[in-house]
Symmetry: C2
Subunit: 330 residues, 2 copies
């Protein structure tokens, strides 16, 4: 294996100079710099990362800790994070928590052991509720989940606003009796419920909320129960893409026609939402951008650890489709 001293020998300089060139220290004369670079290329020298990390105590690695990478939101975030990291010569280590605080703690320990430069974290409800500030030995940027007052960098949707606007849209189209199916164990779900509640209260309408566990089949069961009510509510809102999927399955299973029998709206502009008749009205999240912003924020935090914390609140985009069409007067 070719190592730094081989390069030094070949270039006729000391190992120190090679190291200086490779780490980009600007204290090397141009001639030696070029000779070192040439030698590196000729020998196809690759620095040993383990040795470098041992010596420098940095890993140039980013940790990504999410509940489940199969959640399309996190899939997209991970892609953005990997893109940016790759372009900066950094690595990404992935860890799934399944919302399990124990596994979450393991993942965070793992990141500490790896001496990651920083972590992008989507915390479980439990961790979030205990979260005051990041004292893990590495900087953390929160994505998707955040509570007012937490002293941490974060990138998230304006959940309250998005749910408020989505509800207002349904109300404007004449829907009054609305059921809000949301993830009860999710900070995000709760915030969206509050936005929905605010809109309903403003119109002096009662709030009908159905809390479900964040699983597709749970959402489907809850939706089926809702669809058995008589009279049927006029509209249903799902607080996430996963829940919206469950609701859509329930509607199909019961042959309920959208929006004739019931109007539908939800979150996350997944590809299939425009496929189911007559297209589902949703709040689109700028997921890729959120991932990109998260890692940019993290890199800035790594570069300047002492700046004030920042929360980046992004606006959801209302995409109107047929599922929320105006109600016919009866």
């Amino acid at each position: 294996m070719v190592q730094i001293k081989d390069v030094a020998k070949r270039a006729g300089v000391s190992v120190a100079s090679v190291s200086r060139v490779l780490t980009g220290l600007p204290v090397v004369s141009e001639p030696t710099r070029l000779r070192v670079l040439a030698a590196v290329k000729e020998l196809d020298y690759r620095p040993d990362l383990a040795a470098r990390r041992l010596r420098s105590r940095r890993s140039d690695t980013i940790g990504l800790v999410v509940s489940d990478i199969r959640n399309p939101f996190f899939t997209e975030v991970s892609r953005a994070v990997e893109d940016v990291a790759f372009s900066r010569q950094m690595r990404v280590i992935l860890c799934n928590t399944d919302e399990d605080p124990n596994k979450e703690a393991s993942c965070l320990e793992l990141m500490r052991d790896e001496k990651v430069s920083g972590v992008i974290l989507s915390p479980s409800l439990k961790l979030l509720s205990h979260f005051t500030r990041a004292d893990y030995g590495f900087p953390i940027v929160l994505v998707d989940r955040y509570e007012r007052g937490i002293e941490a960098d974060a990138v998230l949707l304006d959940n309250f606003d998005a749910a408020y606007r989505l509800t207002e849209h349904l109300l404007a189209n004449g829907h009054r009796q609305i059921v809000f199916v949301y993830g009860a164990e999710s900070a995000t779900g709760r915030q969206r419920l509050e936005g929905h509640r605010a809109a309903m209260v403003k119109h002096q309408l009662p709030v009908q909320a159905e809390g479900v566990k964040p699983m597709e089949d749970q959402a489907r069961e809850a939706a089926l129960a809702v669809l058995k009510r008589s009279p049927l509510p006029q509209a249903v809102i799902a607080s996430s893409g996963l829940i919206l999927l469950g609701v859509a399955e329930a509607l199909r299973a019961t042959r309920t026609v959208i929006p004739r029998d019931i109007a539908v709206a939800g979150f996350d502009n997944l590809p299939w939402t425009q496929l189911v008749e007559p297209g589902l009205t949703v709040i689109a999240q700028p997921t890729y951008d959120m991932g990109r912003e998260a890692i940019e924020l993290l890199l800035q935090r790594i570069a300047t650890p002492d700046k004030a914390m920042r929360q980046l609140v992004m606006r959801g985009e209302l995409i109107e489709r047929g599922s929320s069409a105006a109600r016919q007067h009866t």
Copy 2:
């Protein structure tokens, strides 16, 4: 920072013994083992991974190199890989190639630099065609993409068989004029075309294949062109989930009714395929299992590098839904 010699001092033993206990060498007496473990716990000692890796020349890290993690197939595979790796105390480093041979080469170099224990790779068509055997300095397991004769471990669907059976199913339901929309730049797509071709030839029917680039909008455009034909073909098969999505979008855009106007079938049992009316007939891949098998194969290869190569060919499951219903006689 607490390090191994602190633990040694505390336990009243040498650093060597601590190391032996921690690496699991079975040459330590039970009493010393327990005292070391106690000292580790008391001091909350965490071994320095960089130092360990430098010395032992192993990283206990698995590389996952795929075209795009957002492809649901790879998302699922990555989840399986991470699950198994986590349970074995191993890390996963992710890299997206976008089917770009240059980026692919960069990713593989990155993995070499990281001295990964092994890589799970879904190669681009170009790399696959040059692939004879893995000589990257680490073992490789191919997933999803493989060509006969390549000397490498691999986990893949029996693409020929799956497409053959899917075609036979359509034929059995009376569909004769079938258009096969497939990923022309994909080894998998081509293999599926061959299975389709075999079934058509057997029934002495002409093959109508439309090669598209593996992008949703490309598939939609191709499908739109197909739907402009007069007379309309009796059925269309999409060779992947992404292409099926494009086809479904085209059908919806043209208000074509399934299966009255045209029958539809495809690959990948994604959640939305049962949502679009009247449910899409698909070949389901055991994606999670394929990922699990891939990393298991890799771990075995790492343990015993000289065993003969193995290819695990998995069978797709035909899920019949309304979209391929039997044709009414005219």
